[in-house]
Amino acid sequence: MTAGVAGLSVVDLREVALGFGDDCLVLSHRLAEWTTHAPELEEEMALANLALDLLGQARSLLTLAGEADGRDEDQLAYWRDDRDFRNLLLVEQPNGDFAVTMTRQLLFSTFQELLYRWMVTGTEPRLAAIAAKGVMEARYHVEHARLWVQRLGGGTEESHRRMCRALDLLWPYTEELFEPTESWSRAADQGAVPPLSSIEEPWRHSIESLLVDSGLEIPGFPAWQSGGRLGRHSEHLGHLLAEMQHLHRSHPNASW
């Protein structure tokens, strides 16, 4: 293996960037699905903002991931199949109702903000640069999701019931957030990314205190779903990719 910057191998850098980049790309797609369906116009704008931020991050991360073998962002986004995607299962879960979407955002963005905050001072300069920009965006995403979780948790009986259901639905997918791949562990040893175990406690604390404030609680069962980072996805991802990729693949040598 070739040694990259700061002793991080090209393969490990690629895997880490790909995992992150796919998280952003897939979640951006899900958020974009809300277009014209949002509960109010202000939220139409906010969801598009979130989708745009994540798409921007995805493009930077996929560009970085593709450097090793000369593939650009579009080749990575449009020409890989389900088994080669490295995103978390959480972000590919369907939008459901607005409570599901905001819960998913809370769980993911809290995780992402913690990672970015750490990576800003990490040893891999390109990851650090992406994190420096992303951390501001993630902060806003977290705030937006927290405000809605509070409103829905403490709003009406119906919104409270929907929030409980959303938490039950998505909680199983939180296990995977803190499971490092082999590449991740090596990147953490090099100081490019944090050890995931160091993020878990602050993540849990942040989520738990919000839920308590909102009259909600962390589900009483353990999380168990995982496999996304290794390319073992739910059935949902294949459909998402079919939609995202079909036009690009129908015109193999075209530029757009």
């Binding site: 369906h37 509960p39 116009l41 598009a48 995805a58 996929l62 579009d74 919104s159």
Partner: protein, 317 residues
């Protein structure tokens, strides 16, 4: 109630202010018909921005490159922003967004009929940006001088963004036109389908446009439908040549004497059908808007309930 002397004198003063090119502001006295005409026009414009998100939104998840996806997503978001400014402008005349949305989804207010055509291919995104946003700019530039202040100011802000959209649409089509054979055909097909509906966006010919005279006197409308349409054609023909795409009108040619392009007759029967609810997508567009409104009701209600509780908590503290 019969008109009183003071009504007459207020009407007169109102018209004099308009004639002197003073803008009408929310607190000014205005004739009831001016107010209702303005509400109807601003609401219709706001609805068009919001319904207009659907045909283009249809392609966001399938955009063929990440760069184009980002541009399209940002554009559709801009349109939501335009809708928001315009509903806010309507609010200065005393009608709320909720009330206007209700009028839209029950079919009592209209939106631009162009959005009742389907976007079948990716090239339609480019054709809408180039032609539909292009026609919208032509209309809206004239409206930056409309007599109602909040509407005129909203138009200034909106026009800046619309001209970005128009350029992006042009650029998208230009890439397709210079691309593969299949891409070029896709672009030509889209222009063939969108050209005539774009010309219809300016409304019926002046000879059949009943509202025009009063709207002109009040300077709500400052340029006639036919004149705007001609401006749009004159601006667009050279752009089509630059794109190497044909406009689907065999009668289109430069008229040296008039100093304008001549163009063929518009199928006003098609226009009446679409405005009357028989376009390809009328029912679909309203159904989507209605579903968003209904499905979001519990969310808005929760936000209101939470707000009330927060306020009572702070006032109790």
């Amino acid at each position: 109630m019969p008109p009183t002397n003071s009504d007459e004198s207020r009407n007169l003063a109102f018209q004099q202010a308009i004639d002197a090119d003073r803008t009408v502001e929310p607190r000014d006295w205005m004739p009831e018909r001016y107010r209702s005409t303005m509400i109807r026009q601003i609401a219709q414009h706001a609805h068009s921005e919001i319904i207009g998100m659907q045909p283009e939104g249809n392609w966001i998840t399938r955009a063929p490159s990440l760069r184009r996806k980002a541009i399209l997503l940002a554009k559709v978001q801009d349109e939501a922003g335009h809708g928001l400014y315009l509903y806010a402008a309507a609010e200065t005349l005393g009608v709320g967004r909720g009330e206007l949305t209700e009028l839209l989804i029950t079919g009592r207010q209209k939106y631009s009929s162009i959005f009742n055509y389907p976007t079948q291919t990716w090239a339609d995104v480019g054709a809408i940006g180039w032609l539909v946003d292009g026609a919208a700019i032509t209309n809206q530039l004239a409206l930056t001088k409309t007599s109602y202040g909040p509407y005129a100011r909203a138009m200034v802000r909106i026009c800046r963004e619309e001209s970005f959209h128009q350029r992006q649409g042009f650029e998208l089509l230009s890439e397709l036109s210079r691309g593969t054979v299949a891409q070029h055909e896709m672009a030509q097909d889209a222009v063939n389908r969108w050209w005539w509906p774009a010309l219809m966006m300016f409304g019926p010919p002046d000879t059949e446009s009943p509202n025009t005279a009063q709207s002109m006197a009040w300077k709500i409308k400052r340029v006639s439908n036919d004149e705007l349409r001609q401006r749009f054609v004159d601006m667009t023909v050279p752009q089509a040549q630059a794109l190497a795409l044909d406009l689907p009108d065999p009668q289109l040619r430069w008229n040296e004497a008039r100093g304008h392009y001549d163009f063929g007759p518009i199928d006003w029967e098609e226009f009446r059908q679409v405005v009357g609810g028989h376009g390809a997508c009328n029912a679909q567009r309203i159904a989507v808007r209605r579903a968003a409104d209904e499905d979001g009701a519990w969310v808005r209600e929760a936000a209101r309930a939470w707000e009330v509780r927060q306020n009572s908590r702070t006032s109790a503290a």
